[in-house]
Point group: C2
Chain length 140, copies 2
DNA sequence: TTGATTGCAAAGAATTTGCACTGGG
DNA sequence: CCCAGTGCAAATTCTTTGCAATCAA
């Protein structure tokens, strides 16, 4: 399981790595977490892991392709377990909820624009900010 | 000119503000600058403006809608004079060049997705990273 | 005049690094 | 056993703030 994912990435199997991987994978917790979020969550689960380690591990995971790093409007980085399928994000400014989506039309549009400009597209980041349906309802 | 733009924004006409506005507006310099870039550029033009002031002024400009702030993959914020017409960006990882583009198809796609999800879209950020045509040529 | 604005230095927030210690293979 | 991995504290980087001096209206 987690064990083999780490090995595949060339990383030794250690407590902090396992725990962070499990945390990111757990379905109950939000899937988009900052380093601080991960740190606090681990602390509240007994773990006496250091914040620096969280940063180091997340960075290694990112380099290994296990995790994707985002820069939502705010200041700090947000990490998300990489499930293999590309998607973009819709961030609700009211409740902070992050919704994932995929649009073939948008992907195509990007591809087209890149071609038009002789640009070799490696990756992209698209964030849509606004108010989610839940929050829209509440404000009635 | 600059003067009235500032007044319209409710900001007093001061040397730092004028200079920063002119810098951002000048066609010769890149249009996408970090606070540090602006600061260094001003220093090299005699000006003895403080870095803190650059940050303050850029933040005020952003709030006044005169300037748009971006968070390209890197760490620091990048500022750009707001010319009124929305556009997205293509960032070359090799030469650092930033190219602006606008795609009706992509904008439409975003609008569609938002509707589909009952999401009220306020704004978005789309950055495409890769290699620009110039750099592609050089690598032949 | 007078409150807005600035420069400087000091404070903050997020992230990284140095180093001695620990632990997985 | 041995080096990768870790915790802690100190260092960096980017940005914001406090405060006395300065300036535009």
């Amino acid at each position: 399981m987690k064990n083999s994912e780490l090995k595949k990435a060339g990383l030794k199997t250690t407590i902090p790595r396992i725990q962070i991987l499990e945390l990111l994978d757990s379905t109950d917790s939000p899937k988009h977490l900052s380093a601080e979020d991960v740190y606090k969550k681990l602390l509240s689960q007994d773990s006496d892991i250091g914040l620096a380690t969280v940063y180091r591990v997340l960075t290694q995971f990112e380099q290994a392709g296990l995790v994707t790093r985002h820069h939502f409007d705010g200041v700090h980085s947000i990490y998300e377990l990489n499930n293999g399928q590309h998607h973009d994000h819709m961030v609700c400014g009211d409740c902070g909820n992050v919704h994932e989506f995929y649009s073939e039309k948008i992907e195509q549009g990007q591809h087209d624009i890149a071609i038009e400009n002789g640009f070799t597209l490696k990756h992209h980041s698209l964030y849509m900010y606004g108010t989610c349906s839940e929050c829209n309802k509440k404000q009635l």
